[in-house]
Every structure is written in C-alpha cells, then in structure tokens.
C-alpha cells in the first residue's frame, strides 16, 4: 500500500508517462481512497497548465537606467 509521499511522487511520474502498469494500479487505488492526494493530483496538472501560460515581462525605463549606471560604474573601475 502506497503512502502519500510515494503517491504524490507517482503522480508526477504519471504526468510524464513514466509509470508502469503496477504502479498505475497502486496509484489509482490510493487516489480512490485519499482525497488529499486526489486534490494534489488535480492541482499538479493545473500548475503544469499555468506554467506554460506564464509570459515574461520587459524591463522598465527605470531598470534600464539602473543597468546602464551599474555597467558604467564597473567599467570605469577597471
């Protein structure tokens, strides 16, 4: 019988298709009985989805000025 620590690790492996038949069955059985791990599993796949959506931002004018100032300071020190 799997414990929750093992079950949550298997959830991660299953998402990546890296789980054999026996482990898949043990995991299903655990998830059937354990609502916490069931929630973990749902939340884990939501996180996968959100991670892909996340877009990087750009630099503000202020940050650009700071970078320029630091770079110039370092250059003139040498």
């Amino acid at each position: 019988m799997l414990n929750c620590k093992e079950a949550t690790l298997l959830v991660i492996k299953k998402e990546q298709g890296k789980l054999g038949l026996m482990n898949r069955l043990s995991l299903s059985f655990h998830l059937f009985l354990c609502k916490y791990c069931r929630w973990f599993s749902r939340q884990s796949s939501l996180i996968n989805h959100l991670a892909k959506e996340n877009t990087p931002s750009s630099l503000s004018k202020e940050e650009q000025r700071e970078i320029a100032a630091t770079v110039m300071q370092k250059i003139s020190q040498d």
Partner: protein, 190 residues
Amino acid sequence: MNARANEVVKYWIEEFSNGMYAYALARLRHPANARDILQETFIAAWKSYESYNAKASEKTWLYAILKNKIADSYRKKSRQPEELTGDNAWFDEAGRWIPGSFPSPWRGTDALINKKEFHQIFEDCLQKLTGRSREAFILKYIEDQEPAFICKELDISTSNYWVLLHRSKLALRSCLEKHWFQKKMEHAEL
C-alpha cells in the same frame, strides 16, 4: 574611453536589453538574477569590444555572450549544496501528510487563466523555490525540455530529477494555496 563606453552601452541597452532580458528571464525565471546577468553580459561585452570584428551582427555577438553567462550561472548553482527544505516539510516519517500541510480543494480554478493578479502570485511563488528545484521546474514545466537534457544541464541523476520536481510541485502548490486560495476563501466569508 568612458565617453565612448557610455555611448556604446547606452545603444546596446536601448536596442537589445528588452529582448535579452526576456531571453534571460525565460531561463533563470528570477527578475533580479536576469538583470544581474544582463549587467555582467554588457560589462564582458565592453571588455572584448575591441576584438569584436563585425563578422557576426552585434546582436548575435551579444546573445552569444549572454548564453555563456547563463550557462555559467547554471553550473555555479549546481555546485552549490542544495538547501534541503526537505520533503519532511509536508510528510511525516510514515509518508503521510502532516496536519497543516493537507491540500485543500481549490475553488474557481477555471477563472484563473486570465487573471493578472493570479499570474503575479504564481510568479512570486516560483521565485520562492530554491536552488535546483526551481531550475528543474523551469526547464521541465516552462521550457518543456526532455528529462535527459535537464539531468545533463543540472548535473543530476534521474532519481534526483524526480525528487526535485516532486519537491518543487509540493512547494509551489502549497505557496499558491496559502497566498491565493486561502485568501479568496477569507474574502468570500467576509
């Protein structure tokens, strides 16, 4: 010499810094680190500017330096000992959830995708991940890299790969719950 440097660096920052920042941020996922890397890149670029011979475009040349700096920072990080916030933050010795770390059901997840504030929380939580857990998470879930590539990049074994991803998921999940879902519930009750 300084006046010339000033002129050149200003030009680089105006022309290329936003694109280079986005590139660095996508890999490092940490705004402060991405800005530091950018500074190091421009300093290194100025130092070797004399040997730059316009065979490659200035942009290609700057990106090559940036890529090297990012690769260096990965290598430095994987040599640092990993801080072990550990799995025992979530589970007891028998591998059961510790009371207080029990996941709770998340409500209203369908509406999240377009929510700006939520994405900010997501980003903040991502930044709270430490060391190689964060690198592993970014490479896998944001950049969608192959496990073999990630193990090589971070210099880790396959079993470490799973441990790091497991840990990063547990930490991120718990952070999102604390800073978003629990707050939402408090608001709903008021």
